[in-house]
Amino acid sequence: MKVEIAGLKLKNPVMTASGTFGYGEEYSDYVDLNRLGGIVVKGLSLKPRPGNPPPRIMETSGGMLNAVGLQNVGVDVFIDEKLPFLRRYDVVVIANIYGESYKEYAQVAGKLSRAKGVHALEINVSCPNVKKGGLSFGSDPRAAAEVTRCVKAETHLPVIVKLTPNVTDIASIALSVENAGADAVSLINTITGMSIDLRARTPHLKNITGGLSGPAIKPVALRMVWQVAQKVSIPVIGIGGIMTAEDALEFMIAGAKAVQIGTASFINPCALVEIIDGIRHYLDENKIKNIKDIVGTLQT
């Protein structure tokens, strides 16, 4: 079940998705963290962020919207208070990072690179960049590449760039960050959506819009993973609506070398382990020795 992504040796291809597994502690009563392929922690910013006012979540058909607003303890508190807990486990830890400017990304990356127990960085470029008129770094190939370069310059750790689906041509953005030095790409982040309270005639979310996740977005995620995997030569990590081992395997067949599980953990706190066991079972049943042998085997 071992896979290697940009030099990272994962026990298996199943990781947590950022923002859905806290800092690892929250689910540690349900999930043996040692069994995970990797833990991607909640997005970290330079300063602590209070996050958006509630309500922050809303259910939709086959999914949910969230507008947590990157509430997090900040990179310093993470290193001092959260990382020691994670170091107790034999598991790959990936820090998801977020900045409001190129410089902030670089600063967060620098601090994490000097901390013990962080094995890779995942850059979240899906946040609106005020200077660019409300669109995000991640929706502009040049800005995404620039963020990648800034982070790469500050770190020796493998750098994964997490792509937003809210773009016309995700493959071109993937190519652009690959050229800028990204060691891997992960996709997709949430799709921007909205939900309305008919009685009150207000949005359900205080933030008005939020990010759609869950099985509702799986077809879109799968399509994008397939498109990107055909364009880039760095590893692709598949994310979006994975609920079962079968879903995870579909992403791998579409070209993902590993996957991340987000919303599924909310529905079933034991989902991650069930998915790992399910992949194992599938490989055994189909007499597949090496999990790499299924990656990108989609026949079209």
């Binding site: 923002g19 859905t20 597994f21 806290g22 929250e26 689910y27 009563d29 349900y30 999930v31 043996d32 909640k42 209070p50 996050g51 958006n52 006012p53 509630p54 309500p55 922050r56 979540i57 809303m58 259910e59 939709t60 058909s61 086959g62 999914g63 949910m64 969230n66 947590v68 509430q71 869950g214 099985p215 919303t263 953990s265 909310f266 529905i267 079933n268 706190p269 034991c270």
Partner: protein, 271 residues
């Protein structure tokens, strides 16, 4: 791993009053004894519609030889509760819990006051039962204020009668008890309660809690159970945020599911 997601079997599901259901669920014996104020996340086994699990307080709990059982008291307000209401004996539900680090704390004070609005009675009556039966508090020390829009919405009174010596019932329309908001009824009695020797516990709609916060100064020990929409129920998604004061009095967002659902009234920041 200490915790799991449990498969429960509905052994009874009865509409005890229009739109109010009492559901009894049998659970494997691994399910941990809940503290009053704790809740479960419940969903119909194998179904993705509704998508998210629903948080419901634990109304009663008992342990048998080979399994345990739990009662949930809920009101049909939307799709999820409507589907729960439709479950029949034998239906399977997936349950995680008991959840919530913040639960009702056993009072040191002599006077114990409960204030419930509608379905808010659910966690409070389990607490009253526990105080009476496990901590041996006298029912005379316990006063229960229960409010509802009308007589129809007054549920669970029988159980409260067993444990609380004093019960004050209010309805908005006067169809039962006093015609008043439950907080008004409580406010009338407020001077009877010495802040140093009274513990107050409240659960109900947000405006009720807010009204309470307007009438109780920080001297009073008052715990309230809050509600927010939830996704994970375990503190991981930060979706159920509520604005609270931190130790330095600064505004911060806490998680209803894991930091709560029971908080101290004085810590709430009203946005």
């Amino acid at each position: 791993m200490a915790k799991d997601i449990y498969m429960g079997e509905v052994s009874r599901n009865e509409e005890i009053r229009k739109d109010f259901f009492l559901m009894k669920v049998t659970l494997p014996s691994g399910f941990v004894e809940p503290m009053p104020g704790q809740f479960v996340m419940i969903r119909i086994a194998g179904l993705n519609d509704p998508f998210l699990s629903r948080p419901i307080s634990i109304y009663s709990f008992s342990r048998g030889r080979s399994n345990c059982s739990m009662e949930l008291l809920f009101r049909v307000v939307g799709k999820g509760t409507r589907i729960l209401a439709g479950l029949i004996k034998g239906s399977l539900v997936e349950i995680s819990g008991p959840l919530g680090e913040g639960h009702f704390a056993i009072p040191k004070a002599g006077n114990i006051v409960f204030i419930a609005g509608g379905i808010g009675i659910a966690p409070l009556s389990l607490f009253a039962e526990n105080l009476c039966r496990k901590v041996c508090r006298s029912s005379d020390a316990m006063t229960f204020y229960l409010g509802a829009q009308s007589a129809d919405g007054l549920i669970g009174l029988n159980r409260v009668h067993k444990y609380c010596g004093n019960i004050i019932v209010c309805t908005d329309d006067g169809s039962a008890g006093m015609k008043a908001l439950v907080t008004k009824a409580f406010q009338k009695d407020l001077k009877k309660y010495d802040p140093m020797d009274t513990a107050i516990y409240a659960c109900g709609p947000r405006p009720m809690i807010r009204a309470l916060s307007g009438m109780l100064d920080a001297e009073y020990f008052c715990q309230v159970s809050l509600e927010e929409r939830m996704a994970c129920g375990v503190g991981a998604c930060v979706g159920c945020a509520v604005a609270m004061k931190d130790d330095l009095g600064q505004k911060t967002y806490k998680r209803v599911c894991s930091d709560g659902p029971v908080f101290e009234l004085k810590d709430i920041v009203w946005e």
